[in-house]
Subunit: 502 residues, 2 copies
Amino acid sequence: MARRKKRPAVTGGPNPYPARLSHPFAPQSLFSDDAIAAIHEMALKVLEELGMKILLEEAVELYRSAGASVDGDMVRIGRDIVKSALKTAPTEIQIFAPGPARNQLLKHGAMLFGPGAGCPNATDLIEGRRPGRLVDYENALRLQQSVDVIHLLGPSAEPQDVPANTRHYAFLRAQLALCDKPIFVYARGREQVEESFEMLRLALGLTDQTFGNQVWAKTVINTNSPRQIDRPMGQGIIDFARAGQLSIITPFCLAGAMAPITVSGALVLQHAEALAGITLAQIARPGAPVVYGAFGSNVDMKSGAPAFGTPEHIQMTLGSGQLARHIGLPWRSAAGSASNTTDAQAAGETHMSMWAALLGGATMTFHAAGWLEGGLTFGFEKFVNDIEMLQTFAHLTNIPKTDQESLGWSALADVEPGGHFFATEHTMERYRDAFYTPLVADISNFGSWTDAGSKTADQRATGIWQSMLREFTPPKGATERAGRIEEFIAKGEASGGAAILD
Amino acid sequence: MARRKKRPAVTGGPNPYPARLSHPFAPQSLFSDDAIAAIHEMALKVLEELGMKILLEEAVELYRSAGASVDGDMVRIGRDIVKSALKTAPTEIQIFAPGPARNQLLKHGAMLFGPGAGCPNATDLIEGRRPGRLVDYENALRLQQSVDVIHLLGPSAEPQDVPANTRHYAFLRAQLALCDKPIFVYARGREQVEESFEMLRLALGLTDQTFGNQVWAKTVINTNSPRQIDRPMGQGIIDFARAGQLSIITPFCLAGAMAPITVSGALVLQHAEALAGITLAQIARPGAPVVYGAFGSNVDMKSGAPAFGTPEHIQMTLGSGQLARHIGLPWRSAAGSASNTTDAQAAGETHMSMWAALLGGATMTFHAAGWLEGGLTFGFEKFVNDIEMLQTFAHLTNIPKTDQESLGWSALADVEPGGHFFATEHTMERYRDAFYTPLVADISNFGSWTDAGSKTADQRATGIWQSMLREFTPPKGATERAGRIEEFIAKGEASGGAAILD
């Protein structure tokens, strides 16, 4: 056709899919309702009879205050305590973002995506693989901000070139200066968390009271499977709950290694640990915003290496969705890839696990873009390729029209047998935005593709993230928001920052 | 773990999934029942008022005999004629294979996979891309036979080095000599089809009567969208129907090019054309085995190039599934990739379209392994990578156990908080076959992967297909079956073969 169609909005332009997505498919069940009830029951039995090892004394005391049986750091949590917690945990959570258009509502049926996160390394085809640096963290944020299909900011690459005690300043400054999407705060000890909350209040001009009643910060709490919550995680649950901020309580249960080798057994452990964390949050502050997190897969039993996108990963994800619906809470899932590079394996694993999250009805799915090596590396080319996948999912939320005009009688009557529809009025009226325009997929023929250098999808992705970075401008108000915490940060840095908790 | 686990059966060894697969998910609906009824109605109106151009006079006469209105080669087919055809078309079809263990039952809920097919070219990382040769066709058959997750043989690469008039001999000889799975026969004119049927009867020792009452050959009938059936396709429908063999009637409707630009409009055309073909088969022989075929996607409106794995491809697939259920017939779908090489794009597109076929509940999905460049090339490395995907789907049909032992209380009680499950009795009893073993995925860590040459999934796949070919032995009885047609072929070749129909 004559006129060139613009690429879809990856830098904030007009958007062909809604800013808030709903699931296009009904949640699928892998297990019978009875089997899910049995998993839930055994998880309660695990908490009641085997108990959790809780390394933070303050958390132990909270469990004790709610009636748990305590033996040193072993805490046995009766089912009534869990039941009470599940009664006060909210089923819908409004998440606030610096840019109001980026606010999101967590509830069953909502579909939110977060980037690959928590990676110690970063990689791209220009500089290769390296320990994460501040510039990588910032560039990954720029990409997250640039694509509308990433709804929640995540710490994609760890800025290891920033000292641990002042890293929380760098995290907040960069998110505020470059983005307007919901903010992530690491739970690395009370001092850093409280300073992060204070920075948020300053930057966003929020009173203590407003902040306490609205979710402006989210964190991920990983239990130390099996059956253990360490000090920073315990403190994080308590501090986020008391501040009214969001804990996404996510056991990372690898069947065969840190969890039983059976899918159902691994789900029992995962469920028990998630319930333990949710319960602590609700004891600390009834009604505290929490998300039921679940990220389970299997390991290779020869090497112990984590595998992703496997049948077992898919099955654990589907089972997790059923358990989330069983207890009625919003559910965080995760995609994943074990691949070391952005190849067919990487795409296959991530598609498999993302489809599982979709079929399971995950409220939020993390590691949805850019995750390589089982989370050890954030890949810039992987990010771009995964965005193609997420944009495809986002477009599925638009159901094609079936009114009489869309059914196309006029076009069908216009075109002779064996002809083509390119020039019909029906086509001409619609061709500009009829179809999804690929971000990185190259569908030109073999000759053209060869002439253009036979570039694979990862090689083509390099130019795309580079162009996103080149074209990046911070969203409205971001510079001002970040500016409001510079003084706080300067003081903090001058006094050595804030300790992290081991 | 100490003992090495064997790779899963790719050469006929013990099989961790059933030989006959059922869908793991409930079929999903994209459109409302009313919308599907509206598409069906408009398709009937297309057949009734606009009609189909039928290039074979014999087919025109058959339509006329059933009451259709004929004007030259334009045939208008009343809805009563279509309705009668849908009454006699079988809803379940038993497919027979040379190896009885390979027989398959086509019905809703069954899940069968066929390879990438109909490709003029072949490619691999050793020899590169070339016009298909007999050796490529044969090697692709060896691979199809070697992996249990391919249920139906397909003409992966066209043997262009065999003259067209004797190519049907090469097709039959190779399938019979190398495989025991259900046979594919091209509909390239009556002479070749009849000779192919005769070769099948000879090879398999079937009487005319047995052959006529059992499905031993299948073909794919592509309409010439829009609204046209050419001479070989028309003759194929008639000949396969009269011989009691299977026609898979598959319009290939690319929205925006040979079909209306709207998803629903393209579905109207696709549905009308499939119904026209099904109707012709039922007129030729009421009760003839037919499959409702549907392969629809969109083109890029800038270049006209076909796109696959797009939101529109997924939507057309889901809608096709609904239409198939609406008329109650077994349904053939298709995966697809436009990528020129086995990269992240190729994997992404094929996963997207395969998941759509899964969610739509496709009875048989073709082009499920090895399809590149929108079908212009069969890729050996692509085939291996796609088999990983299909094996993952196959494993999903095994629902994890949830009996008390599987729920893993003994393991959970065995392992201390923060410990691991590697050495528990629960693990030791199960680790050998607990998880799917990858075929091509490399989940080793970055260091090991780099030490092993940083090979991408396509590069690793080369060794895998080479090893499959090296280890290949024809199935029991295959050599004898092929031997029984050598004399027939020698005679045929001596007399110049059989004409193909233009």
